[in-house]
């Protein structure tokens, strides 16, 4: 596989950006760091979500299921004497297995049926986990570790880097090509000999494993693990919203959705504590009406205008 000049450029650019992001803890500003964790967490979740949902146009609301699964894996693992680092790959494997099962189960579903199926599935996983916790006699789960915010932030960045590399590699591979055709027209894809099921399931596994690992990484931050917080459906919705606000057509799309959205959220929470929800909702509406194609659309049309201007100059 040979890399063109453009590829090298974008890889270098991404590496530099990642390195810059990794310097954030050096500033010693803990407030920026806590915002940074929020951004990194949603960026990883939204990007890995878009890896699957972007090309296939299948909207998954199962993020919370994978996230909660990861959180519980780490919590139960540590409770039973496992090393934190061992729980991460276990979470990834469990997430991938669950995703594979879901993928197999949902092959025949399309459109809104898939959306709500994933939603129901997330609730099913949560119910089974809480019931299991109840009958197993496991008391409250506490993840008391020495992991600090800096560690969590850097771990998320590394995971983000891996997700980006994976996404980029998929984009260049036969798999990525296959997915794009599936997204355009699944019928055509099937006729041209593409194993659509395999492609979809593989991608969903990547996405599920990533969300599970994010859940694992955040468990030490929450310390006290409750099903209602680990499996909150709000998480699934927020990830979808942020990814869609950014735009799912590009690998970097979700990122340009997550960053402004998190900053906006922070600004609203800080300035209007009593109307946070109301204003957050209003800003959604404004964004949807003013930016019909997400931030990616805004950036691309900006670029096009610049190019046109250059051409005329």
């Amino acid at each position: 596989m040979s890399l063109a000049k453009r590829d090298w450029q974008s890889i270098t650019l991404s590496a530099v950006l990642l390195a810059v992001a990794a310097c954030l803890p050096l500033t010693g500003d803990a407030y920026m760091l806590s915002i940074g964790i929020t951004i990194a967490m949603y960026a990883v979740l939204a990007t890995s979500w878009a890896l699957f949902s972007g090309p296939t146009h299948f909207i998954s609301l199962a993020t919370a299921a994978f996230f909660g699964l990861g959180t519980y894996t780490t919590a139960i693992g540590i409770e039973n004497g496992l090393n934190y680092w061992v729980t991460l790959p276990i979470a990834a494997i469990l997430g991938a297995v669950l995703a594979a099962l879901v993928g197999l189960a949902t092959l025949r579903l399309s459109g809104v049926y898939f959306v709500i199926f994933t939603l129901g599935l997330a609730e099913l996983v949560r119910q089974v986990v809480t019931w299991g916790q109840n009958v197993s006699g496991q008391k409250g789960l506490y993840v008391l570790t020495d992991i600090t915010e800096v560690h969590i932030y850097l771990q998320l960045l590394v995971l983000g880097g891996i997700v980006y590399l994976t996404g980029w590699a998929i984009g260049r591979s036969r798999l990525g090509f296959a997915l794009r055709i599936i997204g355009d027209d699944e019928e055509v894809a099937r006729h041209s000999g593409i194993n659509t099921s395999r492609a979809k399931i593989l991608l969903f596994m990547v996405s599920g494993a990533t969300a599970a690992v994010v859940g694992s990484m955040l468990a030490p931050r929450y310390i006290y693990i409750e099903p209602a917080l680990a499996f909150t459906p709000m998480l699934s919705f927020l990830v979808v919203i942020m990814a869609l606000l950014g735009g799912t057509g590009r690998l970097w799309g979700p990122l340009v959705g997550v960053i402004p959205f998190t900053l906006l959220w922070e600004a609203i929470s800080a300035s209007f504590p009593n109307q946070t929800t109301l204003l957050l909702g209003l800003s959604f509406l404004v964004i949807v009406y003013l930016l019909p194609r997400g931030f990616v659309g805004l950036i691309e049309s900006g670029k096009r205008k610049m190019r046109e201007r250059e051409a005329f100059a």
């Binding site: 500003d29 803990a30 407030y31 806590s34 915002i35 964790i37 929020t38 967490m41 119910q127 809480t130 019931w131 916790q133 109840n134 006699g137 496991q138 008391k139 409250g140 789960l141 506490y142 008391l144 600090t148 915010e149 955040l218 931050r221 929450y222 310390i223 006290y224 693990i225 409750e226 099903p227 209602a228 917080l229 909150t232 709000m234 922070e266 929470s269 800080a270 504590p273 009593n274 946070t276 929800t277």
Partner: protein
């Protein structure tokens, strides 16, 4: 309820405008408050946490402020909504510490959100007197977060209180020894049910019905019918707010009418008494206060006058007391230096509206209310781990 809230809003606005005028120039003490205004815990926060924040700030400022080494400082409260999301709680506490440079931060609302915020409190050296965290891992937590204090007690103690009350009723010949126990399948319910099972057994009770139900169950009649068919002498539910109401109503309808009927969180809410009226008489619930004591009566009257709502009979008073402890520690230390105030909290006893507070070796208030009972329209404490003022529990006589 709506009118009361509007009234409360109006009262709050008047207070706010009254305060901002002449006092703005004076040096203010910035106090941060983080809690849920939206999300699953918002209902509880609206009853127990936010009104007390408002009341405490009002009381302090009406008295001329907190005496910090000779100068009176008014308090200014900065509130943030954490949307019942631990990530947001962390961010908001972080924001208070670094952006708003709050002098002190009140402990958040709810077990999970408190514990999530504990590392941030610890890092900046803020003393953290929790009022609504219930945990059996207090030893581990206070070891890791030395500035963290616990007012409301632990699961084992809460469950133990119920078993004590039931044992006394049994010894008095009022009930037999069969118990039907249910719990909500969330962290709180699971922890309490696990704590209660061995204690029931040790006390010689027989658990004739034992089951859980998921958070958000919309029909609790199968649970109640199952409990009723086991014909228990006592019914114990480790329940959360919406289901506490649901279980009680369903028990009335299904004719589950044991001599001892216990539901956990929200039994102590005034809205429980308002909704069930005379039927609530004799219902046992988590918490309790010395309801006949002057300290509580006076507090309840001010609570209603300032916020427009009645306090609950469990965590409301401890929430207010936790703010009092902070206030007394600042005055005692005579400085706004966090380390000095934290040290003062660690080394002193406090006199609050819930009585004297002393810390045990785990920074925990070892004397807390565990069980209360609706008696004559008031939810009175009937069992505690050493508080004064408990009244005798009486057997429940039907739902009429």
């Amino acid at each position: 309820m709506k009118r009361r809230n509007l009234f409360g809003l109006a009262a709050a606005l008047t207070v706010a405008t009254a305060l901002t005028g002449p006092l703005a120039a004076q040096e203010m003490l910035k106090i941060g408050a983080v809690g849920p205004k939206t999300g699953p815990l918002a209902g509880g926060g609206a009853v127990t946490f936010w009104p007390n924040v408002q009341l405490w700030a009002h009381d302090v400022n009406e008295a001329g402020g907190i005496d910090v080494g000779g100068t009176k400082m008014m308090v200014e409260v900065i509130e943030y909504d954490d949307q019942t999301n631990p990530g947001e709680t962390i961010k908001a506490v972080q924001r208070l510490a670094t952006q708003d440079e709050a002098d002190f931060i009140l402990a958040p609302y709810g077990t999970g959100l408190n514990i999530a915020a504990a590392p941030i409190f610890e890092r900046y050296g803020y003393p953290m007197v929790t009022h609504t965290a219930i945990s059996d891992q207090i030893e581990d937590l206070s070891g890791k977060f030395p500035n963290m204090y616990f007012l409301l007690g632990g699961a084992t103690g809460l469950a133990g209180g119920v078993i004590d009350v039931l044992s006394q009723m049994r010894d008095a010949g009022e009930i037999g020894s069969s118990v039907a126990m249910v719990n909500v399948a969330d962290a709180f319910g699971i922890e309490l049910a696990e704590a209660a099972r061995p204690q029931f057994e040790a006390a010689g009770f027989e658990i004739v019905y034992d089951s859980s139900y998921p958070l958000g169950t919309q029909d609790l009649s199968p649970v109640i019918n199952g409990a009723r068919d086991s014909n228990p002498d006592a019914f114990v539910a480790w329940s959360y707010p919406p289901d506490t109401f649901g279980l009680t109503e369903q028990a009335q309808i299904a004719g589950l009418s044991p001599k001892a009927f216990y539901t956990a969180v929200a039994t102590a809410f005034p809205s429980y008494g308002a909704r069930f009226g005379a039927a609530a008489e004799g219902v046992l619930g988590a918490g309790g206060v010395f309801a006949d004591g002057d300290a509580f009566k006076d507090y309840a009257a001010r609570h209603e006058a300032v916020t427009g709502a009645k306090p609950d009979f469990w965590a409301s008073a401890p929430a207010y007391a936790s703010f009092q402890i902070l206030q007394q520690a600042i005055e005692g230390a005579g400085t706004t230096d966090k380390a000095a105030v934290a040290e003062y909290i660690a080394n002193n006893d406090f006199d609050t509206i819930i009585g004297p507070i002393t810390w045990d070796e785990n920074n925990s208030n070892a004397k807390y209310w565990t069980v209360g009972q609706w008696q004559g329209g008031v939810f009175k404490g009937v069992a505690s781990t050493g508080r004064d003022g408990a009244v005798a529990a009486m057997p429940k006589t039907g739902w009429e």
